[in-house]
């Protein structure tokens, strides 16, 4: 199973305790993440989550007042951090952020197993399913997207300072475009299910990025 490093699934557990509310909550979020990632929010029942987390429904509702509350926590605590870890933090390793964006995307594509590939992007999935149906979900998901865009923008400005990106380029606009490309690519792969299309989209984005790069 793919590791999303930001998830502290079943932490080392120095002492084996029969009751560990912090670990239990994390476990619920972990199970919920995968179930919802695979099947969508509505397709997953509280029973499913509780069962696969080795708990009863009563325990679940002790940690989360409603099913929606779990979804909100998932966005706030898991997805937002995941965005940072997958798409923003790695850019620090690149002297040239434009190259970093392209290389990081390629790396993710190449390393992602076939099954996970066809599941798309956890964040985008939730956006499409929940945004127009629940305003609280939308706000929180919007927050995660905004974090993503802002993070990219920050690195694009760094690129401008270091002379990799044309000064006249609107960093915010480009950041929006980059994020949209990521989500669009992951969205399309869900129906197409062909890694080549993913590479094709990556190539196009790379080409675009080099067109705004300083000669």
């Amino acid at each position: 199973m793919l590791k999303w490093s930001c998830m502290s699934r079943s932490r080392p557990a120095i002492k084996k305790r029969t009751r560990d509310p912090v670990a239990t909550r994390a476990q619920i979020l972990d199970v919920a993440f995968w179930e919802i990632y695979r099947n969508g929010f509505h397709h997953v029942s509280v029973n499913d989550i509780a069962e696969k987390a080795g708990l009863t429904k009563g325990a679940f509702f002790h940690h989360f007042p409603t099913k929606e509350a779990l979804g909100y926590a998932l966005v706030d605590e898991v997805l937002t951090r995941m965005v940072l870890e997958r798409w923003i933090t790695p850019l620090n390793d690149y002297e040239n952020p434009l190259e970093g964006i392209s290389a990081n995307l390629k790396k993710i594509i190449d390393e992602m197993p076939e099954e996970t590939l066809s599941l798309g992007c956890p964040l985008n999935n939730l956006v499409q399913e929940m945004s127009s149906v629940d305003p609280i979900f939308r706000d929180k998901l919007h927050g995660a997207i905004e974090t993503w865009i802002a993070g990219v923008e920050k690195h694009l400005k760094r690129a401008q300072q270091r002379g990799y990106l044309k000064k006249e380029t609107n960093a915010r606009r480009l950041a929006e475009f980059v994020v949209m490309n990521h989500e669009g690519a992951f969205g399309m792969i869900k129906s197409v299910r062909d890694r080549r299309v993913f590479r094709s989209l990556h190539a196009s984005l790379k080409e675009y990025l080099s067109s705004v790069q300083t000669a």
Copy 2:
């Protein structure tokens, strides 16, 4: 309410008939389209659809054997045609297809009412919700996407023949990129809900298209 011209909603009805199975079926598909567009497939019950179509559940199941069958018919009969009408056919009116792609997208964005804007793209919504959950849905949705890509590719080749697009550009790859940009933009707007972002994404795509255009 926005008109999706491909939908034959409540046709002229020369003679007022109390029973008109063709119209009834179309009515069901029409209602189902909007309900599913607004709320997602799982969020809509057969009861909802039947009721809003002025029918009983029994009547619904007379026309469609299962709820899934309705969804399949929706993709095959409604969404695929919609894609052609909205994104492919209009390109015929443009001497330069590259300009057509950009102008058509802009036109759609400008004409789309605020409410509909935040609902995203009907096809993309369904892709994200159903593709990884139901293989038949995925195949049919994939078919619709493929129709879209192939349509754009055809026009891009026309652009190459007429000298608007560089000969060395891979038309298929560019078509995939264009479609992905459309779906990505509509997907992102669902959470962001800001027409400016839409215009920003459109501007970026336009810029990209002009970068592959012959001087």
